[in-house]
């Protein structure tokens, strides 16, 4: 496997990694919901959120470069949306305008808030999946009464994700070795064949996996996952986490 894992720091040994998955999931989701639902707040709020993210990052020993490169995914959509948001806002000092579009001080501030919000949410999610193994996250979802079949499907997905990803990279490499560019329509034909053979290989693998599962007596029900009891320490951690969120909310009202 040459590609980097999506959650390659998930199995660390720091204090943050040691926290209960349910506490981390609840806290991060509440944090993201808080960021996403607060509008038009001062920059102190964003600074406080950034501090929180930075503290978690350092405590979990995740490299900052890793976080920055992974959080680039927000750029294509968020950048486009922030630019159109900036161009259509009015109010404040106008720096430039043409037709219905204008760059104003209000627009700049609001667009930067928009970008800051989505970046903070993405960073929080990156820290969550890089401090909690995915099976633990799924177990946490199970205790939150998420549909058991959905959990099973997600674990199947995660199990075969890297495998098929490797397969697709192998096929792509094989194509690049044997194929020296060409007209666009030729490229698309090639890609169509790649997708279809990837699907067929997946399908045939599914048939084999399913046969072997059924022959070992699988009846379609999920194996029961035993979770550690929710201790007083977890409750305490959760209370501390939510008090932090209340402080953040209080900062946003400044």
């Amino acid at each position: 496997m040459h590609h980097s894992y999506l959650d390659k720091y998930a199995r660390g040994t720091t204090a943050i990694h040691g926290l209960d998955a349910r506490v981390k999931v609840l806290f991060s989701f509440a944090f993201i919901i808080l960021i996403a639902s607060l509008r038009a707040s001062g920059f102190e709020f964003y600074l406080a959120c950034l501090t929180l993210i930075a503290v978690c990052l350092i405590a979990a020993r995740i490299p900052t470069v890793y976080l920055l490169t992974r959080s680039i995914v927000v750029i294509p959509f968020a950048g486009f949306a922030a630019i159109s948001y900036m161009l259509t806002r009015t109010g404040g000092t106008t720096y430039w305008h043409s037709g219905p579009f204008a760059i104003t001080s209000e627009g700049l501030i609001d667009a930067s808030h928009l970008l800051a919000r989505s970046w903070l949410a993405v960073s929080c999610m990156i820290i969550l999946v890089n401090t909690t193994p995915f099976d633990q996250i799924l177990k946490a979802f199970r205790t939150f009464r998420l549909h058991s079949i959905l959990i099973m499907l997600l674990s199947f997905f995660y199990r075969y994700l890297y495998l098929l990803w490797d397969e697709s990279e192998r096929m792509q490499r094989a194509r690049n070795l044997r194929y020296f560019g060409g007209k666009p329509e030729k490229q698309f034909a090639m890609l169509g064949h790649l997708v279809s053979s990837l699907f067929l290989r997946t399908y045939e693998r599914t048939e084999r996996v399913q046969m072997s599962m059924l022959s070992r007596g699988w009846d379609g029900s999920a194996a029961h996952v035993k979770l550690k009891p929710f201790t007083l320490q977890n409750v305490l951690n959760l209370v501390i986490g939510f008090s932090l969120l209340i402080i953040l909310w209080w900062i946003s009202t400044w």
């Binding site: 509008r39 199990r159 990803w165």
Partner: protein
Amino acid sequence: MHIPDGFLDTKTWITFTAVSGVGLTLALRSFKKEKLAQRIPLIGMTAAFVFAAQMLNFPIAGGTSGHFMGGVFACILLGPWTGFITMSLVLIIQCLLFQDGGLTALGANIFNMGFIGSVGGFSLYGLFRLLVWGDRTRPVAYALASWTSIMLAATFASFQLALSGTIDLSVSLPTMLGVHAVIGIGEAAITTLALMSIWKIRPDLMQQVKY
């Protein structure tokens, strides 16, 4: 068109999360228990396949590249409800592990790409099949359905952004549709070519689904 966090306001994301949650629960309930035993590996692995296939990039003009979404592809091969569940799984994993699309926007993304982009596209495919006859014109229906599914999903995404007051509809609709008209051509080309090649190699797979 994965909407990140912070772009939808509270009323919009709560509405769409509820709609998608109910839709997904109904789709999961619609499977009978004994049928599910045979379906779970298939759905889980097809979702992983869609994720892997989205890693295959194709060049668009100007050094950028696009990738395939796979909603209509999954629906035509697996049936509309299975396709919907598959696409929802892909979106959930993309949100959790890949940070493509926000957590609060997950419901809206599942609605746009999971429901409208695949089940919607699939119904359009049924419609286009009525308009074109015979196996020779089959690719036309594939191409039209997948292109329209992308456009529909983009339209819904811009409506959601406008509803949240983030971007005005007069700005977002033309830009989103303009960008996705080009992306949709790539999607249509790959979906059609891939389905035609499956039709050649394993025609039995395409006759399994009753539609």
